[in-house]
C-alpha cells in the first residue's frame, strides 16, 4: 500500500502482465492463449459467464494454480522463474479476498488479521493486534467485531473482515473474488465505496472478479470480458458496452444492465 511505487517497474508498464496463458483440466480447456494487462493504480473488473474461467484466471495469477502454458508476470517479475524466497516476498505484496472469506475458523477476527503480521514480520502480539484493529476500523468494522469468531459474523462482516486480512501486509495489489456476491444492495454499494476510498488513499491496484453490474459501473476503471477462452475486450466501460458480441450485449443491455447504468448515472449526478 505504499503509495509510491518503485523497483523494477517502469512508468506505464502494466503491474500484472499475462501472456499466452493456457489452462486446461484434462480435456477441458479453460483458457487458450489469453492476454491481459493490469495497470498500476487501476480497478480492473473481470466479467464473464459462469464457467468462463474468471476464478481460474485469478488463481493462476496469484500462483494457486500452475498454468498449463504461457507466462504471468507481476510487479515486473515473472512468476514461474522466481526462487522460492523471492516468490514468497512477491506473494506478500498481494492480498487476496476469497469468495467465502476463508477466514480461519479457529481464530477470532483480530487474530485472523494479525496472523500474517506476526508470522511474516515477527511483530509482538500486542503490536500486531493493534495494527489489526486499525485495519478492521479501516474496512468499517465496529471495534467489538474483532473479538468475534468468524462463525458469529454476518455475510457482509465476513467480507469486510476478509478484506482487512487481505490488507494486513499493506499489499500493492488486491485480488477480490466476487466481493459483493451474497451481500444486500446497501452492503454491496457500501463495499464499492469502501473499495474506491481505499484505492484512492493507498494507491492500490485492484483485480476484481465480479458478477455485480453495479460494482462495474461505480467502482471499476476498466473492464475485461472473458469469453471464448480468452479476453474478448479490456477497456473502459463505454467501449466494452459497445462491443459487438452477443454475450456482452445481453450482459450490459439486458434489463439488469440498464438499471445499473441508470443507477450509476443518478449517483454521479447527485
Amino acid at each position: 500500500m505504499s503509495e509510491r511505487r518503485e523497483g523494477p517497474l517502469e512508468p506505464g508498464e502494466p503491474i500484472i502482465q499475462v501472456r499466452g496463458l493456457q489452462n486446461r483440466f484434462g480435456e477441458h480447456v479453460v483458457h487458450d492463449r489469453l492476454d491481459l494487462d493490469v495497470m498500476p493504480g487501476e480497478i480492473l473488473g473481470v466479467v464473464g459467464g459462469s464457467g468462463s474461467g474468471k476464478s481460474v484466471l485469478l488463481r493462476s495469477i496469484v500462483g494457486l494454480l500452475r498454468p498449463s502454458g504461457g507466462e504471468v508476470s507481476m510487479l515486473g517479475e515473472q512468476l514461474d522463474q522466481l526462487s522460492e524466497r523471492r516468490r514468497v516476498l512477491l506473494e506478500r505484496r498481494c492480498g487476496v479476498l476469497f469468495q467465502q472469506g476463508a477466514l480461519f475458523s479457529s481464530l477470532n477476527v483480530t487474530q485472523n488479521v494479525a496472523l500474517p503480521l506476526r508470522e511474516h514480520l515477527q511483530l509482538p502480539r500486542a503490536e500486531a493486534e493493534h495494527l489489526a484493529e486499525v485495519k478492521l476500523a479501516l474496512v468499517g468494522l465496529p471495534p467489538h467485531a474483532g473479538r468475534l469468531a468468524p462463525s458469529e459474523l454476518s455475510g457482509g462482516m465476513i467480507k469486510r473482515a476478509a478484506l482487512a486480512r487481505a490488507l494486513a501486509l499493506d499489499p500493492d495489489i488486491l485480488f477480490l473474488d466476487e466481493p459483493t456476491a451474497g451481500l444486500d444492495p446497501i452492503g454491496a454499494a457500501a463495499f464499492d465505496q469502501l473499495l474506491l476510498t481505499l484505492r484512492n488513499a493507498f494507491g492500490l491496484t485492484v483485480f476484481l472478479v465480479t458478477h455485480d453490474l453495479d460494482t462495474l459501473y461505480t467502482a471499476c476503471d476498466r473492464i475485461a470480458v472473458l469469453s471464448g477462452k480468452r479476453v474478448l475486450v479490456a477497456d473502459t466501460l463505454s467501449v466494452v458496452a459497445q462491443t459487438d458480441d452477443a454475450w456482452v450485449r445481453d450482459y450490459f443491455h439486458g434489463p439488469r444492465g440498464r438499471s445499473a447504468q441508470l443507477a450509476a448515472h443518478a449517483t454521479r449526478e447527485a
Binding site: 500500500m1 505504499s2 503509495e3 509510491r4 518503485e6 523497483g7 516476498l89 506478500r92 505484496r93 475458523s105 479457529s106 503480521l117 514480520l121 515477527q122 511483530l123 500486542a126 503490536e127 493486534e129 493493534h130 495494527l131 484493529e133 486499525v134 485495519k135 478492521l136 476500523a137 479501516l138 465496529p142 471495534p143 469468531a149 468468524p150 462463525s151 458469529e152 490488507l167 501486509l169 499493506d170 499489499p171 500493492d172 476510498t197 481505499l198 484512492n200 488513499a201 493507498f202 494507491g203
Partner: protein
C-alpha cells in the same frame, strides 16, 4: 510491502521543537520505527515531507508519536504533502479514532485466574449434566411417542445404522476381546500357578468375561468408534444448516437423527457384547488348552457350569450402555456450533464422556450387584 529501502528516522529540525521524519515508514521496518518513536515521545510537531515511503503501519506510529488529533492537523495543514499522502493520513486517522489508542495490557493474577477457571469448569460440568439429562428425557419422550408407530421408525436409517454400528464393528470387537481373553488367561496362569491352582484360570476367564469384560470391552470400543461418528455426522449437518432445514420443513431432527441411532445401538451393542463374550472365552480357552494343557472337555465343563445369573448380570448392562453412548454421541453433535474446530472439539468430548460414563456406570453396577449377592 517492499523489503528494500532505508528505515525511517526522526531528526531534530532546525526550527526548535519540530521533528523531521525521514526515510521509509513502512511495515518492514516496524521494530526499528517503534524504537524511534519511543525515544521521541511527547513531540509537539512533525514534518513529514521528507518521508520516502509510507504505509498504514507508518501512519499508526506517527499517530502514536503525536496523537491522532495533531496528526490530522498535519494532514490537513501541510501543503507540501501530495494529495494521496494526505488522503492516506486522513483515512488512517479516521480508522484510529474508532480504535482505542494503545493495546491494553491486563495483568493476570494467577490466584484469581485459577479460581475463576475452577469455577467455570464446575459450572460447565453441572450445565453439561443437566443438559444431558434433558436430552435423555427428550429422547425417551420421542421414543415413547413413536414406539407404537413402527411406520415412523425410519427403517432405512435404522438399517444402515445397524450395519454401520454393528456389522462393521464385528471384526474389531471379536479380535480385541479374543486377545484380552488370552491375556487374562496368561495373567491367571501366572498368579494361580503359585498356589497350584492353574486349572482355575478357566474359571477366571469365564466369570470375568461373562460378568464384566465382554460387555465392557464392546461398550468401550463402540464408544470410541460410534459415539464419535454420531457426533461428527450430526455436527457437520449442524454446520451445514441441514438441521435447521429439517426443522423449518416441520420435521423433528431428534426423531430423524437421534431415534434411529439410539435404536440401532440398542440392538447392536448387546449382540456385539455377546460376540465379545464368546470370543473372549475362545481366547482364554485356547491359552488354557495350548499353554496350560488343560483338556478341552474340562474347559467346556467349567464354561457350562457357570451359573446363568452371571451371564445375565453382564448382558443386562449392554442396553444401558448402548443408550448412554448413543445419547451422548448425538447430543454432542447437536451442540456443535458453526465451525470445523467445533466439530473436532465435540467429537473428542463425546468419546471422552461416553467412555467415562460407561466405566462409571459399570463400577456402580459392580458394587450394586456385589451387595445384592447376584
Amino acid at each position: 510491502m517492499q523489503s528494500d529501502g532505508t528505515p525511517g528516522a526522526l531528526q531534530q529540525g532546525h526550527a526548535g521543537q519540530c521533528l523531521v521524519a525521514t526515510g521509509d515508514w513502512t511495515l518492514v521496518h516496524y521494530a526499528t520505527l517503534c524504537g524511534e518513536v519511543e525515544r521521541n515521545r511527547g513531540a509537539e510537531a512533525l514534518e513529514l515531507d521528507q518521508v520516502l515511503r509510507l504505509d498504514t503501519a507508518g501512519v499508526v506510529l506517527f499517530a502514536r508519536l503525536l496523537g491522532v488529533e495533531r496528526l490530522r492537523l498535519v494532514a490537513d495543514g501541510d501543503r507540501s504533502l501530495s494529495a494521496e499522502r494526505r488522503a492516506l493520513l486522513r483515512t488512517v486517522c479516521d480508522a484510529l479514532d474508532k480504535v482505542q489508542q494503545q493495546p491494553e495490557q491486563r495483568a493476570p493474577s494467577a490466584l484469581t485466574d485459577g479460581l475463576a477457571r475452577i469455577g467455570q469448569a464446575v459450572q460447565l460440568h453441572l450445565q453439561n449434566l443437566v443438559g444431558l439429562l434433558g436430552f435423555i428425557g427428550l429422547t425417551l419422550a420421542i421414543a415413547a411417542r413413536l414406539i407404537w408407530r413402527p411406520r415412523r421408525w425410519r427403517m432405512n436409517a435404522l438399517m444402515s445404522q445397524i450395519q454401520y454400528t454393528g456389522l462393521n464393528a464385528l471384526p474389531i470387537v471379536a479380535l480385541l476381546t479374543f486377545m484380552i481373553g488370552a491375556v487374562v488367561a496368561f495373567l491367571g496362569a501366572t498368579v494361580l500357578d503359585a498356589f497350584g491352582a492353574s486349572v482355575y484360570t478357566v474359571d477366571l476367564v469365564a466369570y470375568s468375561f461373562m460378568r464384566e469384560f465382554g460387555v465392557l470391552l464392546a461398550a468401550i470400543l463402540v464408544a470410541g468408534r460410534t459415539a464419535s461418528a454420531f457426533t461428527a455426522q450430526i455436527g457437520s449437518m449442524k454446520v451445514n444448516e441441514e438441521i435447521d432445514a429439517l426443522r423449518v420443513q416441520g420435521f423433528d431432527p431428534a426423531e430423524w437423527l437421534v431415534l434411529p441411532r439410539v435404536l440401532a445401538l440398542l440392538i447392536t451393542l448387546p449382540l456385539l457384547a455377546f460376540v465379545g463374550l464368546v470370543s473372549g472365552l475362545l481366547g482364554g480357552g485356547l491359552v488354557a488348552l495350548l499353554a496350560l494343557d488343560i483338556p478341552l472337555g474340562r474347559i467346556m465343563a467349567i464354561y457350562r457350569d457357570v451359573p446363568l445369573q452371571h451371564f445375565l448380570v453382564g448382558m443386562g448392562k449392554a442396553p444401558l450402555f448402548a443408550f448412554l453412548i448413543a445419547v451422548i454421541g448425538c447430543r454432542e453433535g447437536f451442540r456443535v456450533s458453526g465451525s470445523a474446530e467445533s466439530v473436532g472439539q465435540h467429537t473428542t468430548s463425546s468419546v471422552v464422556q461416553s467412555i467415562f460414563v460407561v466405566i462409571l456406570v459399570d463400577a456402580l453396577a459392580a458394587l450394586f450387584f456385589m451387595e445384592m449377592g447376584w
